[in-house]
């Protein structure tokens, strides 16, 4: 499968990836406000106790704990390896948020009615916008086993 690999030491915390993710998930041609809570990034960058950047991106895990916790069938690991989320199927139990061992998932901030989840930019040809906009090559797509 194709996965976004991370070289955390190259990350400078510019958050171009987060803005690119927000942009990739608003309708084409929309100028969106960075402070409007309805626009959210699926990824984020955390700091460890030494202030080092630790990019937090959905791994589309080989054994996804989020999928195991989903009782509505909204989260599915596709044959191509990506874990996709169907908002219409979701019953908003948020067990996936609880069960992701890395704390990647979250309910949406504006309405709290769906899960904010990386879709590998399925609407953009499956080429992740975050990767295209990373100036330090801290993230890149690679085919993995």
């Amino acid at each position: 499968m194709r996965r976004i690999l991370i070289e955390a030491d190259k990350c400078k915390g510019c958050k171009n990836c987060s803005v690119a993710c927000m942009k990739a998930h608003v309708p084409e041609g929309t100028v969106f406000s960075l402070s409007d809570p309805q626009f959210e990034s699926r990824n984020t960058i955390l700091l460890d106790s030494e202030e080092k950047c630790r990019p937090l991106f959905c791994r589309h895990c080989d054994k996804p704990a989020c999928v195991n916790s989903c009782m509505s069938g909204a989260l599915v690991k596709n044959p191509d390896g990506h874990v996709l989320y169907d908002r219409d199927k979701c019953a908003q139990c948020f067990m996936c948020v609880m069960n992701c061992p890395f704390g990647v998932l979250k309910p949406d901030r504006a309405t709290g009615t769906y899960v904010v989840k990386c879709d590998f930019c399925a609407l953009h040809g499956g080429e992740p916008s975050c990767v295209k906009n990373c100036p330090t090559e801290a993230i890149y797509v690679k085919e993995v086993e």
Partner: protein, 406 residues
């Protein structure tokens, strides 16, 4: 090789899927008492009218065809003949080479005077329960729910969304006492009360009263109060559905008894999920379905993750999550903080998180159950407990997957 699975819940369906992945040519049969595959955790959405039957499914439309699984609905298994390796049911039988018992659990009806045999009394476990509750609730004016746990409040929430205002009785002093502390529970209780619900807590139902036609007409509490009632929902827990195993030779305690490989005492027969009395949660049932299927297909596998003290609650737009201990015990340290929109509590013991409750804001908080499950010491992380995250144990493997570096 022919694999037969009894039950089409989380454990049974997962086992069937994994068996197909492991055994290209095996015959896989699911015998289910249900009319269709559905998620029991979503039944209250059916009661409320928000979802139709087909919207309760947790598998894709083509699942059985795609995985070449023979799904037999409406099959009420009556026994297992282990000598001839045969599952018996009304109107037929099914032979097996390997058998998985994944029948789940059934509503428990406590020994309350007058409860047994009274009509308009339901659990909320099966689709038939949800159907009956929805139909009866349309006409009911005095709905009582016994049990203020997740299932009882799911039922109450579904009824609230129908425009009803049920009365909830529980012997615990707070609602959701298995999932939340008193403070977080009070937030939800207030919301239910705003919606018209009434609560009788720290109260027991001592008698169920019926009318001349055998329908429930009232419940009496240990306080002496009598609540009029024309629909009674009993949600005080479940019991493994194993009655049909009597005289089968398969050893049962509270549930089907299994070893670390989820094998029973009878060779070739396995059990997983609520039937084995082990899971108590959807993720655990899924993992057990996987483990059972691996062993059934010949790959010796042990259940690794048995931590199930974790759950989420979501009512009235307020999400909550809990894991581990809910109330501090001797030697525990409790950290709490609160503002208008959230309540957060972390319990540590010797620097190791042993319990968490988050309400209002649960964003990116899944790492908490991992810290608690794996007893990860956070003492040496030089930051506030509220800022601890996966970043402090950040690791990546050669395939780019995260791993905890502890």
């Amino acid at each position: 090789m022919k694999h037969v699975i009894i039950g089409s819940g989380a454990a049974g369906i997962t086992a069937a899927k994994v068996l197909r992945e492991q055994c290209e040519n095996a015959e896989i049969v699911i015998l289910s008492a249900d009319e269709a595959v559905y998620s029991r955790c979503m039944l209250h959405h059916f009661v409320s009218g928000e979802r139709q039957v087909e919207e309760l499914s947790f598998i894709s439309d083509g699942f059985f065809a795609e995985h070449r699984i023979r799904f037999c609905p409406n099959v009420q298994v009556t026994g297992i003949d282990t000598a001839s390796q045969c599952v018996l049911f009304d109107g037929g039988s099914e032979t097996y080479d390997r058998l998985l018992i994944a029948t789940g659990s059934e509503s428990f009806f406590p020994p309350i005077d007058g409860l047994s045999g009274t009509k308009q009394v339901y659990g909320l476990r099966d689709l038939s329960d949800a159907r009956a509750i929805r139909e009866q609730a349309k006409r009911a004016e005095h709905i009582v729910v016994i049990g203020a746990g997740l299932v009882g409040l799911d039922a109450a929430y579904g009824l609230v969304k129908m425009g009803k205002a049920p009365t909830v009785v529980d012997f615990a002093e707070t609602i959701l006492s298995a999932n939340l502390d008193a403070h977080a529970a009070a937030t939800y209780q207030a919301k239910f009360e705003e919606a018209g619900c009434r609560f009788y807590l720290d109260r027991k139902v001592t008698e169920v009263v019926r009318d001349g036609a055998g329908n429930v007409s009232a419940v009496t509490l240990d306080s002496g109060d009598t609540l009029p009632c024309d629909l009674l929902i009993v949600a005080v827990g479940v019991r493994p559905m194993i009655g049909f195993l009597q005289d089968s030779g398969i050893a049962c305690g509270r549930g089907v008894m299994v070893n670390d490989h989820l094998a029973t005492n009878v060779p070739g027969i396995y059990a997983a999920g609520d039937a084995a009395g082990l899971s108590e949660s959807w993720p655990s049932a899924i993992l057990q379905g996987e483990v059972a299927a691996m062993n059934m297909s010949g790959t010796k596998t042990t259940q690794q993750d048995t931590f199930s003290a974790k759950n989420t609650v979501h009512f009235f737009g307020i999400p909550a999550l809990s894991a581990g201990r809910l109330v501090a015990g001797p030697g525990d340290v409790e950290d709490c903080r609160e503002d208008r929109n959230r309540y957060q509590k972390v319990i540590t013991h010797d620097g190791v998180p042993v319990g968490v409750i988050l309400q209002g804001d649960i964003s990116r908080s899944g790492f908490w159950q991992y810290l608690i499950k794996n007893k990860i010491d956070v003492t040496n992380i030089p930051k506030s407990i509220w800022n601890v995250s996966f970043a402090d144990s950040y690791g990546l493997d050669e395939n780019g997957e995260y791993q905890w570096d502890v």
